[in-house]
Symmetry: C2
Subunit: 389 residues, 2 copies
């Protein structure tokens, strides 16, 4: 029998991303496709750049969306900045730090690993020791918001340390962009990458990135070609760089870029600081509700992300069965654990437009019901909201 | 002043891609985003695979869309199949053959170049000579449909030669898939990549690819890791391979995949052979019209693509001014020349749903007007259509 058109169910997305998409963004996606060299498109791309600079809080000229998901943005940073033989200090406190290490090794770099417990922030003291012990290291790489554990590291402090020891920094901001404080220029981040499907509430498929002038200089002066043609910033700068002639490199994902443009206009209209605050408000309400029901968060309070709340699965509870029940009965998606946390935790996302009161209360009610808990988490969250008015 | 939402003009896309998008596909794009690990999504991905197998005419288990544009699909083939030191025969008869060479070199391969005139097919005699002269070559790479020149090479014959000399084949089918005959299994193609924004009439952003069992075996037995983590098929097979557990690798571009699914359902409903025939019909009508107006095609008749018609710019005509006039007065996009053909040719696409009678007639009328030609190409094309009834 012939295959029919696919009509997805309508879910509430409270996992680690994709998050719910603003209706305005869904509509933008379906606008008429135009050519990637059309003057109207190029003008839109100038605006995307300006809006991304706003979101990242940077004036970096080389600020753009990579035409592929966040993992490709990560690779764009490492494959361009790491030359064979470069020594790179990489912090691992979750899945995405390990992926950074993989990227460095595949680019021919040598890695010095700073390890921390999953669920904790990167320890600046250990990083400083590594910087001291390896004065020939040229890059420090770490994850700002660990999507696998819910831990937030002190990016400002880590970047300051890197500068003291003359290292460039590569920062994973896939989950942090627009969800908590991130200041690329003030903190002196040299390369940063993110994703569209997290706190921007856009569809997945693009990776916003930004490079400082020091980073651009290192890329421009490489001794060997970048391994990847598709991600080679020396070629991509022909389209995006300072005074570039918009040279054809590859066909841009036109409609997904409409969606990103719209997501960034929504962010601009809300205000970036206001978006951070909103994520924090709903995080506090969710946390109040979870704790009222006796559920425990993995990450200590001072190191928690607003946008990703990682909860211990109570003893004796069947992880997959509960997530499946939430999906089938409530159309509610929450995330499973990744790596060593698989089966041990749930990841509850409050990202972008998923970070709202209705989602918080619904999620708490659903969890109470499927877990058969006695205490009313939703009531606790509502009390928190009322206390904030 | 704040940046506003972007509303693109409505163009008719008759360049080298993106082509016009079916309204059903635009609508599919805006369906609700669900998680990439949602059971409903995984079921859709199974259908995407089955539909891609249909479009490629293959039973290859490893048939999937790469989560990035065609250039990334090209890189996926080369970075996985070419190991450092591998000798690869690469045919260059346009821009995309040169890009293949770049990819091979960046993967550490050694290239043997077979060159042909831009605007002509790859010469099988030269290829056979190269295969004879380099019995240690392990791969033959060529472009089936050269998007920069409009030339179609004899993929069936070239693949047969490669097999005689024990070479795997990597074939660029970015512009050929669904626009002219392409039989991956019958012809024995080992790795093939395409794009969504050409004859599938889908939005840009994905690259359908397929690997034969022999290709999978070479990838699985590599001595060194693939340079790219994002494109490493040994990891991606954990999601797409035979009996794979749908392991998380990266966040799939969910909505663009809805669009691809819809495009492939439309293709299935039309029938792949019927789609080839339709492209041929409109190509013949367009050609009749162009020639009636005294415009010359670059490629000899037997080597022409249906879906991309490359026209000599008449002497004394200002390339950019004419294209700009077509865009502003007619909302009609045709393509400029690329590489050594820049300023010398126009590329008129008839891809996917852009391949229809209205587009052919409008394009011929618009060209007549902006070029101030006397003969009526649209009338000639219409006469051709009527002769076919």
């Amino acid at each position: 029998m012939a295959i029919q058109s696919f009509h997805p169910p309508k879910r509430t997305l409270m996992g680690p991303g994709p998050s719910d998409v603003y209706p305005r963004i869904s509509e933008a996606l379906s606008r008429p496709t135009i050519g990637h060299l059309d003057p109207a498109f190029i003008q839109m791309m100038d605006e995307v750049k300006e809006l991304l600079q706003y979101a990242f809080k940077t004036n970096n000229a080389l600020t753009l969306p990579i035409s592929a998901p966040g993992s490709a943005g990560m690779e764009a940073c490492f494959t361009n900045l790491v030359e064979p033989g470069d020594k790179v200090i990489v912090c691992i406190n979750g899945v995405f730090g390990s992926r950074m290490k993989e990227n460095i090794e595949r680019a021919g770099g040598e890695t010095i690993v700073v390890e921390d417990t999953w669920g904790r922030a990167v320890d600046p003291l250990k990083v400083e020791q590594a910087l001291k012990a390896h004065s020939d290291a040229v890059i420090l790489a770490f994850v700002h918001a660990e999507t696998s554990t819910g831990a937030r590291s002190d990016a400002e402090k880590l970047c300051r340390l890197a500068q003291e020891y003359n290292c460039l920094t590569i920062v994973d901001a896939v989950t942090s962009l627009a969800g908590n404080e991130l200041r690329v220029d003030d903190w002196g981040i040299d390369a940063v990458y993110s994703g569209t499907q997290k706190c921007l509430s856009c569809v997945p498929g693009l990776s916003p990135i930004s490079f400082s002038e020091k980073a651009v200089e290192k890329i421009a002066n490489r001794k060997s070609k970048v391994q990847s043609w598709f991600l080679d910033m020396n070629l991509i700068m022909g389209y995006w760089g300072k005074g570039a002639k918009r040279a054809y490199h590859h066909t841009a994902p036109v409609n997904t870029l409409y969606a990103l443009h719209e997501a960034l206009v929504i962010l601009q209209d809300e205000g970036i600081e206001q978006a951070w605050d909103r994520h924090q408000l709903h995080h506090q309400a969710l946390t109040a509700g979870l704790e009222a029901m006796g559920l425990e968060l993995v990450v200590p309070e001072a190191e928690r992300l607003n946008q990703l709340n990682v909860v211990q699965i109570p003893e004796g509870v069947d992880d997959a069965a509960i997530r499946s029940e939430l999906l089938t009965k409530y159309n509610l998606e929450i995330g499973a654990g990744l790596g060593t946390l698989a089966g041990k935790v749930w990841r509850i996302g409050l990202m972008g437009c998923s970070a709202n009161q209705t989602n918080v209360l619904n999620c708490l009610s659903a969890l109470k019901s499927v877990l058969g808990l006695e205490k009313d988490g939703a009531a606790a969250a509502l009390a928190f909201y009322q206390s904030q008015n």
